[in-house]
């Protein structure tokens, strides 16, 4: 629940920020958003399975975001959409982690019903 509140706080801050991202940087922010989503879902899935590791989580987010931004940058210079690799990987992990969370939540409620 706390993460959800965090999300709402973030959206509120974003609405009241007067800053704009110029169009050159928008593709970098987009890939960073994807990296953040992947990290969040990965974090939630790990904490549900009691395998959460603070160092891996934090380093995972910043490392993935930087790597993905780097891929976007190189891809722009080479005129080849290399960032797609990051998109595919993040997307795959997103759905995998989501499946883990889903299974856990469903198991929790199904077990209660049986009791």
């Amino acid at each position: 629940m706390i993460p959800f509140i965090g999300l709402l706080i973030g959206i509120a801050i974003g609405i009241f920020t007067p800053y704009h991202i110029s169009s050159q940087y928008s593709s970098y922010v987009a890939i960073a958003i994807l990296a953040a989503l992947d990290s969040v879902f990965g974090g939630i899935a790990a904490s549900l399975q009691k395998t959460f590791n603070m160092k891996i989580f934090i380093s995972g987010f910043f490392g993935n975001a930087l790597l993905a931004a780097g891929l976007t940058f190189i891809g722009k210079k080479l005129d080849v959409d290399i960032y797609l690799a990051a998109v595919i990987v993040f997307g795959t992990r997103l759905f995998q982690n989501f499946a883990v969370i889903r299974r856990f939540l469903l198991n929790k409620y199904v077990k209660r019903d049986n009791i």
Binding site: M1, I2, I11, T17, G43, S47
Partner: protein, 242 residues
Amino acid sequence: MKNTKAQIAIAFICILLGFMITVQVKSVRKNTAVNNQTMQRAEELQTELKNEKERGDSLYKQVLQYEKDLQEYQKNASDSSDQAKGLLKQLQNAQIQSGMTDVEGPGVTVTLTDSQDKSGDVDAALFVIHDTDILRVVNELFGAGAEAISVNDERMIATSEIRCVGNVVTINGNRYAPPYVIKAIGSSDTLEAGLNIRDGVVDELKHYKIGVTIKKSDKISIGRYNGAFNPKYAVPVQKGGD
């Protein structure tokens, strides 16, 4: 039971996530709006340009009409006195020489075409028409007494240039590519003979296999100079006394 430290860490990243998503959405919306503005401005400029071009064309037509009227008045004025007739003749000569009026008369039409020779091992630049080739033909025609010359319908006036730019030629500021049609008004026989002198212009051009055709005619029309002339440096010298 979820670890609270984990929850807080995830919450931080969620704050960042929410912030980024919102700012990104706002920026994308603003950027598309700016793009639309730029496109609209481009469209506006295009319409303005079209209108200006149409205005320019209609003003040009008006100018032609005024010149026609002016000629009428001049003729009427000269009909009334001999002095006026003399002045009118001077004026007409000046107009012909300066290229300000359409002229017609007997003369020749010279057509220059690029060499069709496909022997590839020699330097291709030699078989292409250069500005110097056209200049030589024009020079020879003036030398043989031509009174008016046009190249691809560009009237040759005192300030006309014929210049190579890359692989096209600029004449009076406009670009032209081969074939080059050179019209000259004068004595057709003299003009043709001047070009055909042995080892003269035609022989030299034919040596490089440049196509030259000369056609004599009793009625050649040469148009007027189409540009504007606003001298910034030259001023007429005032002659004092008589």
